[in-house]
């Protein structure tokens, strides 16, 4: 499965390329608009082509990500999936109250994290050892906050609140709290 790190690499490349192109375009325009030349009007065809391009781009971005980012479809339809494991976590007074000190998962497990806040709005995110983000969600009091994630490789992950809940929220970190272990043969 494509990892979230890979998705971000793709995004970085695409956006960097776009930035270079648009900066060069505006620089080119700045030179040309002040340079000698005929004051020709822009043809409406070019305008409508541009509008069409933007429309295709705007819509296709979401269609592409929906069909290529592995968690997008599962996230929107998570009620249709049966999780292999469920962890119910409570958050209160800027503390994660976990079902166990270490949450153990096996590779290829679909895991549901069901996080409940008893006071403020928090966040819930899993981070790799290099601090990069695996995923996150908001944790809103009085509502169900659940995320289904398919773990396809071994690793150790840290839980961190991803939403500001006052200065104390900065320290809402459970270091190395999630361990993804080798797969179990389910047959």
């Amino acid at each position: 499965m494509v990892d979230s790190k890979m998705v971000l690499t793709g995004q970085t490349l695409a956006y960097t390329l776009y930035c270079i192109v648009i900066i060069l375009l505006v620089a080119w325009f700045s030179i040309k608009v002040t340079g000698k030349g005929n004051n020709l009007a822009v043809k409406p065809t070019l305008f409508y082509t541009f509008v069409g391009f933007l429309t295709v781009l705007g819509v296709s971005l979401h269609l592409i990500t929906y069909n290529t980012i592995p968690w997008a479809e599962m996230d929107l339809h998570r009620q249709d999936y049966k999780p292999d494991k469920t962890f119910v976590i409570t958050v209160k007074d800027h503390q994660f109250i976990m079902p166990s000190e270490i949450l153990s998962i096996n590779v290829n497990d679909k895991v549901l994290f069901d996080v409940k806040s008893e006071d403020l709005t928090y966040g819930f995110g899993l981070f790799r050892a290099d601090n990069s983000m695996m995923f996150q969600m908001q944790v809103v009091p009085g509502h169900r906050n659940d995320i289904l994630w398919n773990f396809d490789r071994e690793g150790v992950y840290t839980i961190r609140s991803t939403e500001y809940s006052g200065p104390k929220g900065v320290f809402m970190i459970k270091k190395d709290a999630v361990h993804v272990l080798p797969a179990i043969n389910k047959n």
Partner: protein
């Protein structure tokens, strides 16, 4: 002229505040105080940039988050609202060729926003009240963490700003529709219909097409003002709600915070708050680009009718996009995430792209143009939004939001590039083009300083956004602290770019001060000796 004389009297002594009309003084007051508040924002931003590299010994963590709370609010209300409202209170009568409906109300707008901003900034500074601008329920009413008195003054300050904003909206619509004394009766309903786009909409379905009687930039101001009004109502309502909890706490009652549904609150608050970021800012900016392009080029706007229609689409889009802020809220209905959060939000790529194209095409029709200060800053403003809007569209995606939400990506390449480069450069373009008009022909002190300001701001703004974005892609959260220097490399580069922004601002501020002189600045705040409602002196 000697340095001291220029500092006192301005460049060549050309700026004479006693020759200013009440309208010119009003506009300049808005701009001067707006720029002072921008100075607050730059300094606060720089302090936070340094703190992100290494915690500063004289700033505590609660103080850091109090700065983080005040920073965007001072930037939006104290700086941007003041400069934009000041410019529009001048431009709408200028374009409608009639006096402002009420200069007195304009002054009240200025006073309320200026005092309101200082009130919430000072309340945050003293009490460290820090629920951030998002005010996620029940954080603003969490009196275990925050001072109830500090919060009360903070919210009161915001409420004053909102009342000032409401006065601005009334003044704008009254100016468009009223009949000045001694004039023939103005068709107020037709003017309002044209300003809001109802005329243009009717024209789509009738053969008997009516002429647009309100200039396009005024239509943009009117439509953006609709979002200002709605936003004002939502923020005021939310402020009153929070104040109820605060006053109850002061009186010794502990109201249950669970009485308010946190998700419903988040939806209405973001609906209102997003009318700024995805509503009035984009509409005002598009209208300002069109005005600048026609003023700079001296040509009619390219595809004017499409531009007018796009402004109406943008207004409707702005009412329906809020859900992109709730893509990571799992209780938010999926249909809202996809329709409002993704699809309608994608329209902003189209509407803003159209504005970008139309502005460039209008400028192109007049080539060769001279690279004046307004043109230079306008092009930079266009570039800012061209960089920032797609960054926003990317994060407004169900899949990508899962790994981008609340990271530095959101606040770097999207928010800061949009505001610092897109919005601010556009505002600077307006300031440079209006400067000779509102000062009766004062001259800029130094073109070199203008260039220093331009390049420092452009490189600093894009650079800071880029390094914040890189950190975000590596997992760095916003609204958080990394005290072990996990992202120091990116934060050091971001701080260097922040320093460039600071240098740019100092160059600009010094240049303006030397252009109008200290006496001139003081003169702006004294009552005008001219008893006229005209925008500029008659002769």
């Amino acid at each position: 002229m000697s340095f001291t004389k220029t500092l006192l009297n301005g460049e060549q002594g050309l700026f004479k505040s006693e020759t200013l009309t009440p309208m010119q003084k009003l506009t300049l007051r808005f701009v001067v105080v707006g720029l002072i508040y921008f100075g607050f924002v730059v300094i606060e931003g720089m302090l936070m940039r340094l703190y992100e590299v290494k915690p500063l010994p004289f700033i505590t963590e609660p103080q850091f988050f109090a700065i983080l709370t005040a920073h965007p609010l001072v930037g939006i209300f104290g700086s941007t609202y003041l400069i934009v409202f000041g410019a529009f209170l001048f431009l709408v009568p200028f374009l409608m060729k009639k006096p402002l409906w009420s200069i007195k109300l304009g002054n009240w707008t200025f006073i309320l926003i200026a005092i309101g901003t200082f009130t919430f900034w000072f309340a945050g500074f003293v009490s460290h009240y820090a629920p951030l601008y998002t005010l996620y329920w029940p954080l603003p009413a969490d009196f275990k963490q925050f001072s109830v008195w500090g919060g009360t003054f903070f919210i009161t300050g915001i409420a004053l700003v909102m009342v000032g904003s409401a006065f601005f909206v009334i003044n704008i619509f009254k100016t468009i529709t009223y009949t000045p004394e001694g004039w023939d009766k103005q068709p107020s309903k037709a003017l309002l219909a044209s300003a809001l786009g109802i005329t243009g909409f009717r024209n789509l379905f009738t053969k008997n097409k009516k002429e647009h009687i309100v200039p396009l930039p005024v239509a943009a101001v009117a439509r953006g003002s609709v979002d200002v009004a709605l936003n004002t109502a939502i923020i005021l309502f939310t402020g009153v709600l929070i104040l109820v909890y605060m006053i109850a706490a002061i009186m010794g009652f502990d109201l249950k915070s669970s009485a308010i549904d946190a998700l419903l609150y988040k939806n209405w608050f973001w609906w209102g708050l997003d009318l700024i970021a995805d509503g009035l800012v984009l509409i005002f900016v598009a209208g300002t680009w069109y005005l600048l392009a026609t003023m700079i080029s001296g040509k009619p706007l390219f595809m004017q009718n499409i531009a007018r229609a796009a402004l109406l689409v943008e207004l409707i889009v702005s009412w329906t996009v809020w859900s992109h802020h709730l893509l990571s809220d799992q209780a938010q209905p999926a249909i809202l995430k996809v329709l409002s959060g993704e699809m309608v939000t994608a329209f902003e790529l189209i509407t803003q792209g159209l504005a970008f194209f139309i502005t460039l095409a209008t400028l192109w029709s007049a080539r060769p143009l001279k690279m004046t200060n307004p043109l230079k800053f306008l092009l930079a403003g266009l570039l800012g939004f061209a960089l920032a809007v797609p960054a926003g569209i990317m994060q407004a995606d169900v899949g990508l939001n899962r790994i981008l939400h609340n990271t530095q990506w959101v606040v770097g390449p999207h928010v800061h590039v949009a505001i610092l480069v897109g919005l601010n450069m556009t505002l600077y373009s307006v300031i440079y083009i209006l400067f000779p008009i509102v000062t009766n022909g004062a001259k800029m002190y130094s073109q070199k300083l203008v260039n220093v300001h331009f390049w420092c701001h452009l490189i600093g703004g894009i650079g800071m956004g880029a390094f914040m974005g890189m950190a975000g892609l590596k997992g760095m959260l916003r609204r958080s602290l990394y005290i072990n220097g996990e992202f120091n490399l990116y934060m050091i580069f971001a701080a260097i770019c922040g320093t460039l922004l600071l240098i740019g601002f100092i160059a600009f501020f010094y240049n303006i001060l030397m252009s109008v002189g200290i006496k001139g600045v003081i003169g702006i705040f004294t009552p005008s000796k001219l008893k006229t409602k005209d925008l500029v002196p008659a002769n």
